[in-house]
């Protein structure tokens, strides 16, 4: 009895080991590690903020496809360690999801990221995930969002239905962090409109479809606003005697459309939202084009010209009535050298911001990226004045595996 039990336990242990070995064999691992150096060439707002900053990051994706089906499990942890800003040193689960695929529907359960939108200089309609602001002010780094996402596949398009339990607060740089803002934001004491606070269950639905050259998306979101509201009266004073704003997360309804029309070398784009529940209801939109000159002078280089107009009905917004002009270069070389740069200028007060992002592969598994961000000609009352001191030049070396 005793012996047989021991034998069966041993068998079980061997079985588990074999199973795990098989599983480990089937898991696909990809990812990257990166080292980043940032230089801030203007004097800081606070004396503790440094001119130079070093940080390292790592992201791994573990992907397990179930045999004989299209189902899978994906786990993507991310971590960054930052020299100067403890708020920027952070860990996040970008993905941890089960995904099942069927003839006319798909289901994702777990933590995932979703991107909606078409424009270059602003990501207005993208709302499912919170922005990881300490990663980048570009709005393209997102925090993993818990969700149940059911996708229906129909002849007349896709319907994505989201159930979003659990809200992620926007990450703001700490007092020593750069690029930061003159205005400090509290990362711990957010105020919620809903009594359920960050446990409020949000919903969203999106229809998307392609009709000839048109790619269309219409969506509605109900729940906790990803973008916080600030009120000078909702603040506290830190030990340095500085005012720290507390983010207010309202329950909002937001309806959005995103449209791209692709005609030969023209991409025509529109994103528009209508939001209520966060102060007065308002409307905002981004619209413009990208035109590509392919293979200029038979050199293999593609040059794209970008122009977008940004409108926001709210008053104190950095891009409320702005015109963006940009350029995209693709060298189409062995190193996949690329560059995109844009200037965004307020039509009325001429305050402007700019960014430049470039990257080039080195060898087989390294990539070097350069980024510049800054503002200029800032009118005294323009929201850009808050970030005026933190213009930056950044270089990152990433190793991919």
């Amino acid at each position: 009895m005793h012996t047989s039990k021991r034998v069966s336990l041993a068998h079980l242990a061997i079985l588990i080991l074999l199973f795990n070995a098989n599983l480990a064999w089937a898991i696909e691992l990809t990812g990257n590690v990166g080292a980043e150096f940032q230089h801030f060439y203007k004097s800081p707002v606070r004396s503790d903020q440094k001119s130079n900053n070093v940080s390292v990051s790592a992201e791994a994706e573990l992907y397990y496809p179930f045999p004989d089906s299209k189902d899978s499990i994906t786990f993507t942890p991310f971590a960054r360690i930052d020299q100067n800003d403890s708020e920027r040193s952070h860990v996040d689960i970008r993905e941890l999801k089960y995904h099942t695929v069927h003839a006319n529907w798909e289901l994702r359960v777990g933590i995932d990221s979703v991107f909606w939108g078409v424009t270059e200089t602003s990501h207005l309609v993208n709302i499912i995930n919170q922005i990881d602001m300490v990663e980048s002010s570009s709005g393209e780094d997102l925090l993993g969002q818990p969700m149940v996402l059911l996708t229906l596949v129909r002849d007349w398009g896709y319907v994505d239905m989201f159930l979003l339990p659990g809200f992620r607060e926007r990450t703001f740089p700490g007092r020593d962090g750069r690029p930061g803002s003159r205005v400090l934001v509290d990362n711990e004491n957010a105020v919620y409109e809903s009594g359920a606070e960050e446990k409020h269950i949000d919903f969203a639905m999106r229809w998307s479809h392609t009709i000839g050259p048109w790619d269309l998306g219409v969506a509605h979101f109900y729940g906790t606003s990803r973008e916080p509201r600030f009120d000078p009266l909702v603040s506290k004073v830190n030990p340095y005697g500085e005012t720290v704003l507390i983010p207010i997360y309202d329950i909002i309804n937001q309806t959005s459309v995103d449209i791209q029309a692709t005609f030969e070398s023209w991409l025509l784009k529109l994103e528009a939202i209508s939001r209520s529940g966060q102060g007065d209801p308002f409307f905002a939109a981004v619209s413009g084009f990208e035109y590509t000159f392919p293979d200029i002078a038979s050199l293999g280089v593609d040059v794209g010209i970008i122009s977008e107009y940004l409108y926001d009905e709210r008053d104190f917004q950095p891009m409320n009535n702005d015109l963006a002009l940009g350029v995209r270069l693709s060298l189409n070389d062995m190193q996949s050298t690329e560059l995109v740069a844009a200037i965004i200028q307020d039509v009325e007060n001429r305050s402007r911001s700019f960014y430049l992002e470039a990257s080039r592969r080195m060898g087989d598994s390294y990539k070097v990226s350069i980024e510049m961000r800054g503002v200029g000609n800032v009118a005294p009352n323009d929201p850009l004045s808050e970030i005026e001191a933190d213009a930056l030049i950044m270089i990152e070396l990433g190793r991919y595996f």
């Binding site: 696909e28 990809t30 990257n32 992907y63 496809p65 299209k70 899978s72 995904h99 695929v101 003839a103 798909e106 990221s113 979703v114 991107f115 939108g117 078409v118 393209e140 997102l142 996708t151 596949v153 896709y158 998307s208 392609t210 050259p213 790619d215 791209q260 692709t262 030969e264 070398s265 023209w266 991409l267 590509t292 392919p294 293979d295 038979s298 293999g300 593609d302 693709s330 189409n332 070389d333 062995m334 190193q335 996949s336 592969r361 087989d364 598994s365 990539k367 990433g398 991919y400 595996f401």
Partner: protein, 266 residues
């Protein structure tokens, strides 16, 4: 009189036979070029769906080399161009990037790119025909799906090509934005397989030569080449393309070529 009449009849018969014959037996070079292209295309089609691994080795003029690897799924379409889903595996920084192409016979292709780092699907302009594909000596148009209407053809001659005998034809692209004024195409007489292509640039100078090798027969019907070598005479760079794990009739459907499939491609 009788003889005269008989003679006239004979002459008439000979005349009609020879004229009729010459019409049936020797089509114009344009007609013959078109017929060769059509026959070659006919022999490539009917496969339904397939998937394969595609490995490109890029060599520069100093002999340094880089590898690009991707998986390609193809769905044959009856009345229009084929559908393709390409998933990049190497280099590592573009792993998981995927491209969905609906090629069209009469209009521009529809093309979407999925960028895994941003979780973003981007519809892109398919006008980028003459530009390099991933830094290789192949351009986008070299991979675009073969449609008869895309070229004007002219048969030139027969000549030996390696161990085989070939038709040599001139192809002139009729679509806009091509990087080529013309191509010289060698098809073997036996199976109408492309053996060699010479590409002439916009100034009508010899730009590239493609050698197609290692033909294998699949399902006793479909000849597919496993090795492609593209040499650029102007830059002295070359790209070798190897196909492997070719599989036909894997049961792919339209659902494997939609935007949901593009987003989950790994």
């Amino acid at each position: 009189m009788g003889i005269l009449r008989m003679g006239f009849t004979v002459i008439a018969v000979i005349f009609f036979v020879t004229v009729g014959d010459s019409r049936a037996q020797s089509p114009s070079p344009e007609e013959k070029g078109l017929e060769i292209a059509k026959e070659a295309d006919r022999r490539l089609s009917g496969f339904g769906d397939c998937q394969e691994i595609f490995t490109m080795t890029l060599r520069d003029d100093r002999g340094r080399s880089r590898v690009r690897r991707m998986r390609i799924l193809t769905l044959e379409r009856e009345d229009d161009g084929d559908w393709f889903l390409s998933i990049f595996d190497e280099p590592a920084d573009v792993k998981g990037t995927a491209m969905l192409t609906y090629s069209h016979t009469h209009t521009d292709d529809d093309q979407w790119l999925y960028l895994p780092a941003l979780k973003r699907v981007k519809r892109i302009s398919s006008k980028k025909k003459s530009g390099s594909f991933m830094g290789s000596e192949f351009s986008f148009e070299d991979f675009s799906s073969m449609e008869i209407e895309k070229y004007k053809y002219k048969y030139l001659r027969n000549e030996p090509c390696g161990d085989l005998d070939c038709f040599v034809s001139e192809w002139i692209p009729t679509y806009a934005y091509s990087g080529y004024t013309r191509m010289m195409v060698w098809h073997d007489l036996a199976e109408y397989r492309i053996q060699r292509v010479d590409y002439y640039d916009r100034k009508n100078k010899l730009l590239k030569t493609l050698l197609v090798k290692g033909y294998q027969l699949f399902d006793e019907k479909y000849w597919r080449a496993m090795h492609w070598i593209m040499e650029n005479h102007q830059t002295k760079r070359s790209t070798t393309l190897e196909y492997s794990e070719y599989r036909f009739g894997v049961g792919l459907t339209e659902r494997d070529f939609d935007q949901a499939a593009l987003k989950r491609a790994k």
